[in-house]
Symmetry: C2
Subunit: 552 residues, 2 copies
């Protein structure tokens, strides 16, 4: 009788379908907890916290149930040609874990928790108050040539002297730090973890350390600072994945000031998306504006922070799903990828409107910040690679003086072989090459090379295979079990301050140290390998000077 | 075994508490359907669609379960001194219905449906396309002196000639139309139903009729038009309660253009409110801005509609819960009630910031649009009444020339007796009085009078009891049952175009006709009673001219 009552109420509440699903797939609370964590770490990025889909398809029961546990498990284990990683065969997940996840995604999604200002403040910690911080740099090193290096899987950030290549400091950070950004003066380095933990590191200290931290959200990808004249070093901003929101913080203490929800309607079909994630944020240099790219709704928000408690937001309808991007030369046009539509959106920040939406011709553009060239024929052009195809494409970005080429793909440079897999392209005004990685290519050879493109010829002129010793598979002891580690990469490229070197990361595993390789940007010779026990899972590298000024 | 599985999954999903509640209160699907409708009609306004509370307390199971069915039923039937209406003893709900509602609010709230652009478009209907509409007024009447009169419970709008008092037209509208607004030219009259249905009526037609309609949302309270130079009659905007959003429409056809969600964080505690309802919208006359007041988050949004697909919004942190308001003289400052905090927020639309937040000294301010006075001593002042107390208060609104009185309560005029209950105050520049109603006062005598305040003395100078014949209780046959109807009111005051008359509504019941009383605004004599079989539940009255120019 009790059961009947409950069922009656649940039927009335529209939960009956939930129950009939729950009927057949069983998970214990312990299994649910584990699966929820794996989902958050591995799946939510592409499929969404609410499982409504984004770059990956939706994983709601209505989609997953008809597929069934066996097939889902196969897909999770082996991946798909469409871009789903092979979590099982790559060794990231065990057989039991792939089976667990195949079941988990057939159950109704669990609503993730909200986060209020009070929740945030509980985690807020000023470790060194501004008054106790140095009044001027306490080091003789050229701290503007420091590199912040994300040691992803060990939750740390290394600070390395770009001149001497010495490790200056190593500080704890959030889980799987996504990016580092610098304050306008360069003094403060900001880190954001995938777990929404933000840190500010004071580079003026002899040994830079975390001076304040706060957990802003449950899931985040972006952090940025206020760069306009009059607002230097004043504010920081975190773009949250969950809860989907924009959180403004005080620049020096990370005290939270304001939260604005990004949940709204898709730009095209006008459907409500509770999960409208902030994919990336970049500050304008001349106006108090953050360019905020919202993934699911396909909207670019020009967020005026001059009165941070009372923000002014211009909402630009753009394209889906917005991801990452960078400034074109001159810093008027912000170029951002709409990866589900294979397009690049050019945002005219001067006029506050979308200048153009350009099909790239490739599959899943993934620019990082992209790479700029002042080309003799095409004028200022901006280039991006693709995850899903072999194209490095360059787009004209100067409608005033090179109208003929503006918002057109002027070059499509094909990487050799098959399988795409590029993540980042990078250059420096002093370097005549664009450097591209390809860590997601399935082929061992293609995956472990760096690709060199001539900026004038717009052609691939060289490939730099990573010396064997850095990428040799080796067996290591992990919790008493022998595991074969196959270092991948190199991944992510960063130049030093004067552009004479570029650095790439060998993508290891947290159980063994790997290396950061430093190349001469003119001769393309390997100059040095930065190694040491601390070099574990190095990913993004951010030169202070180049990040301050958005040089790429 | 099946049960155990289901329970296991539900426990894991955090739904166990739901189930233990559902255990004890039972409703059939038919009962749920009926209760959901009653909740929407009677309760959601104050307690919120998601039952998280607003002007009324939250009605989530954790609150209601400990109170229990008997006590909840008593409260619903008899009301409370805090402002909860006596739904049972007033005859609005039957005994069985109050019991049903007492049970319903102990069950977990049902998530209301979302509404997409496609859903909206399905309901969109252009009845007379713009090309087939008159090119100039087809009537010899002074159509700018028309009154639009909401016939609330019969779902109609009457259009009455303010000169002759003749019924010109009567048109169908949404459920319980909340307000009418006029386009800048006055030609188009817009109606918004509580069910989110919007209509546009063409007043240039000989017999005005609905020329386009659309169901914009599931629950709404406000509609407004674009009034800035260059945007005359161009756009309409609906403020939705559910889904909480701002929907821009084409002014002539009501074609939907853009939806923006208002779900965000409370201005003070920084908590996410999915249900952040648009309480009111008023257009600036000189700039393409709508002042949008959001109830639960306590935010005023200055919404720039000049590029309607790409809106620019200045978000001002104000106070909770924002409700209704009006322009101070000069139309620079918008005065809006924060009814849960007994305050008035003065929005400086010129500077785009909050000028002041003023405690009124009364309880639950409810201004409607308020009433303006250019006072010999205090300069321009703006007055509001209160639902919960007897105060009509006036606030100085001229910081430039009357700084001493600016944002201060300069007069607190006490209505006689006890019990508050005022809903509207109104005046006209040509009238030397403010007229106030008091329909929510429990006392039969106080409830059926109109209160006259001298605009210079700032004193109550007269009360006008409604002639007995209009408010006499009478028995009517409703579906074969004899029911005693006690007309209440008068309610809501509106002036004619030249300010020589004010009109009030006798608040009847849809089963019997009532009356609209027309008073001479100088002699205060009853000039005429507008009656007829069509005069059923007249509530808001909107003079075309006064509404076009926001004269009050």
């Amino acid at each position: 009788m009790k059961l009947k009552t409950s069922l009656g109420a649940l039927v009335a509440l529209g939960l009956l379908s939930t129950m009939s699903m729950a009927d057949q797939v069983k998970l214990s609370p312990q299994e649910m907890k584990k699966a929820t964590q794996i989902y958050f770490d591995r799946c939510a990025g592409c499929h969404g916290m609410l499982r409504k889909g984004a770059l990956g398809p939706n994983l709601l029961p209505k989609t997953t149930r008809p597929i069934g546990t066996k097939t889902l498990e196969y897909i999770i284990y082996n991946g798909t040609p469409g871009g789903m990683p092979n979590w099982g065969s790559s060794g990231e997940l065990t057989k039991a874990e792939t089976e667990l996840m195949a079941k988990f995604i057939q159950l109704p999604p669990v609503a993730p928790p909200e986060k209020s200002m009070a929740d945030m403040k509980k985690s807020w910690q000023v470790i060194v108050p501004p008054k106790d911080r140095p009044k001027k740099p306490q080091t003789k090193r050229d701290w503007k040539n420091y590199f912040g290096i994300v040691l992803r899987d060990v939750g740390k950030v290394a600070i390395v002297d770009g001149d001497t290549k010495e490790l200056v400091s190593i500080v704890p950070s959030g889980f799987a730090t996504h990016i580092l950004r610098m304050s306008k003066s360069g003094r403060y380095m900001y880190a954001i973890g995938r777990d929404g933990r933000a840190e500010v590191i004071d580079l003026w200290m002899k040994k830079p350390q975390v001076v304040a931290k706060i957990k802003v959200c449950n899931d985040a990808r972006s952090i940025e600072t206020s760069k306009a004249p009059g607002y230097e070093d004043k504010y920081a901003v975190v773009g949250c994945y969950w809860p989907p929101s924009i959180v403004t913080l005080k620049g020096d203490t990370l005290e939270p000031i304001q939260i604005v929800s990004t949940a709204s309607y898709t730009y095209d079909t006008g459907e409500f998306r509770r999960e409208a994630r902030v994919a990336s944020i970049v500050a304008e240099h001349n106006k108090p504006i953050w360019v905020i790219n919202i993934k699911e709704t396909g909207q670019v928000w020009l967020y005026n922070y001059s009165d941070p408690r009372n923000p002014k937001i211009k909402m630009l309808m753009a394209e889906r799903y917005l991801h990452d991007g960078g400034w074109a030369l001159g810093k008027r046009y912000f170029m951002v990828a709409a990866n589900a539509r294979n397009k690049i959106v050019a945002v005219d920040t001067k006029k506050g409107k979308i200048a153009a939406i350009i099909p790239t011709g490739g599959i899943k553009p993934h620019p990082g910040r992209g790479a700029n060239i002042d080309h003799p024929k095409y004028g200022p052009i901006w280039c991006t690679g693709h995850i899903g195809s072999n194209d490095i494409v360059c787009i004209g970005t100067d409608p005033e003086h090179h109208k003929k080429y503006a918002w057109k793909v002027v070059a499509d440079i094909k990487l050799p072989g098959e399988g795409g897999g590029n993540l980042f392209v990078k250059t420096h005004p002093k370097c005549k090459y664009i450097i591209a990685d390809r860590p997601l290519n399935p082929d061992r050879k293609l995956q472990t090379q760096v690709y060199v493109i001539d900026k004038t010829k717009l052609k691939l002129v060289k490939t730099l295979p990573t010396p064997k010793k850095f990428i040799e598979p080796r067996k290591v002891n992990v919790n008493g079990k022998e595991v074969l580690i196959k270092p991948r990469g190199p991944v992510h490229i960063e130049f030093n301050k004067d552009g004479s070197e570029f650095w790439v990361s060998v993508w290891g595993n947290k159980y063994v140290p790997s290396a950061i390789l430093v190349y001469d940007s003119k001769t393309l010779k390997l100059k040095k390998a930065i190694t040491g026990d601390w070099v574990r899972t190095p990913t993004g590298k951010f030169n202070v000077y180049n990040t301050m000024y958005d040089i790429y």
